[in-house]
Amino acid sequence: MSVEQETFADRYPEEAELVRRSFLVAFTALGLGALFGIIQALHRTNVLRLIPSTDYYTVLTAHGVLLVIVFTIFYLVGLYQWAVTRSLDRSPTNINFTRSWLTLMTIGSVITGVTILLGFVDQIGISADVLFTFYAPLQAHPLFYTGLVVFIIGTWLAGVDWFRTWLHWKQDNPDERIPLQTFMVLTTMIMWYVATIGVAIAVLFFLLPWSLGLIDTVNPLLTRTLFWFFGHPVVYFWLLPAYMLWYTVLPKLAGGRLFSDPLARVVFVLFVLLSTPVGIHHQYVDPGIAEGFKFIAMTNTMFLLLPSLLTAFTVVASMEHGARQRGGEGLFGWLTALPWRDPAFTGMALAGLMFAAGGFSGMINAGMNINYLVHNTIWVPGHFHLTVGTAVALTMMAGTYWLWPQLTNRRLYSRPIGLFQVVTWFGGMALMSNSMHVAGLYGVPRRTAEPQYSGFEFQTAFGSIAELNIQLAVGGTLLFISTLLFLGNLTLSLGNPKVEGMGQSLPEPLSGPEDSPRVLDNMKLWAGIALVLVLLAYALPLGAIIQNGGLFGTGGDAYPVSVLGSFDGLDAVRELLGVGR
């Protein structure tokens, strides 16, 4: 077997095993998260109620955490381990260290996941119905935060592992430019280190001691701000693995080559610089933060459109190049020459298309004035189901169709099922996110099991709320079916016999790294500038929040983790239900 025919599993069997293990955790979380998703979609639309409404927040928290923390980040570490090993053509410095951080991440995820799921069993008295946005005054059991800490430490060590591998490679190749995929991994991890400063402080100094009873109170606005310090860049932590697949794998699938390596590097550097000093745009309606700080966050957010637009240009140009290599002609005729029968290509292309729509709704979220129209409505989940729920999730599933044979030496069970799966996701998400966006414009709230208040009718510009509910339920059902098809296809693939010679290489870009300045590879410089920008964006607002509300707040009880917990504001509800304290 020639080197070209070698798969990743042939060349790096131990690393391939670790990537498969990451994907196993990711796809287990995907299946569970999707199950909780369909339960929610059918419940809040009143189509089918499988749970009591009091369990809704357990379902919602599990759906959010399992999909946007466990699924996406385990997929990321698997993909990035593949990318670093492949692009440097080098094993990790110490494979046991690699195994250790993956084990830590898994243990952390299990602790946090089980703590959330225990919320279904009232008798145990452990729960964490705090949603993915786990800031105060919602309080979880200490195990929730402990698992989160272990998980995040695991991701930090993953970054250490990849930086170490790169540094050793650099010693052997002092004059070489960083290979593009490794460059993407390193810049993503710099962004992650900066971003997780906020959540680490929030959890270690406030939320965990508070849930353990070591401190009596916290300042909710402070924990919210620290959460969003992390909560916006985490969006790009989900997105950048998808970008890696779009930049380095999609052009090959299209039959061509990446249009520009330098542009790809610029895009990733821009994400390092601009991802974090924007989090306050999630807090436009928060009292206690001056409007000027919110305006700065909005301006920074609008700058973030630049790397996304650069990506749209570069990726589409690469696809067009591929199509023309395959004989495509004309202004738009080249589109018909693309390999639409390939589920990996089609999934990524449709995900990119949905991302454009998600970008438009994101601009509305980011605009200070128009945000007030949609804030806390179901418009917002409509937006992020297009971005993380499609651009990221669909790209990851599509990327798996291409990666799977490289990792297992087994063919995919069925490419037609794969194609049907990605198209079903596209159609299902179009229905679901459309209904969410429209319902949001009518003022339908998010994060509630009972969006239809009694004695109140939402005013619709066209159609009806009932129609939007059906649309949401049908869309959610299609997404659930699509997830089952994906997981079933992969599971059945394991029954295929192992074959040799399925190795695939990635082509060199049309414009390579030699066309870009070496300063782009200066990781210390970009990390330093990113930290300065974060300091400029956050020092004054955080100072003002602490000055006005105190480091540990001004008092008040935690909101209970269960609806019938100890919270004075619920006394009336308790009386109504005849439940004692």
């Binding site: 639409w340 029968r341 179009a430 510009a461 066209f462």
Partner: protein
């Protein structure tokens, strides 16, 4: 076309184009409703759109198959 062959073979491009145009047409209904206040009934509109797009897909497939046979 031989008797044993299906009327329409699975073609990635046609499937994606069909799904994309159906979604585009559906979003057009939203735009008409929100921007112009036109309340187009969902089920008849979508049903008609799906039938028309399916007919176009079948015709496109016949045309392509004929062209390939003729070549």
């Amino acid at each position: 076309m031989n008797d044993g062959e299906p009327i329409v073979k699975t073609r990635g491009g046609l499937l994606v184009a069909w799904a994309f145009l159906l979604v585009f047409g559906f979003e057009l209904r939203t735009a008409l409703g929100l921007f112009l206040g036109l309340d187009v009934p969902a089920v008849p509109y979508l049903g008609t759109l799906a039938i028309v797009l399916t007919l176009f897909a079948v015709l496109a497939d016949f045309q392509r198959t004929s062209a390939q046979r003729g070549a």
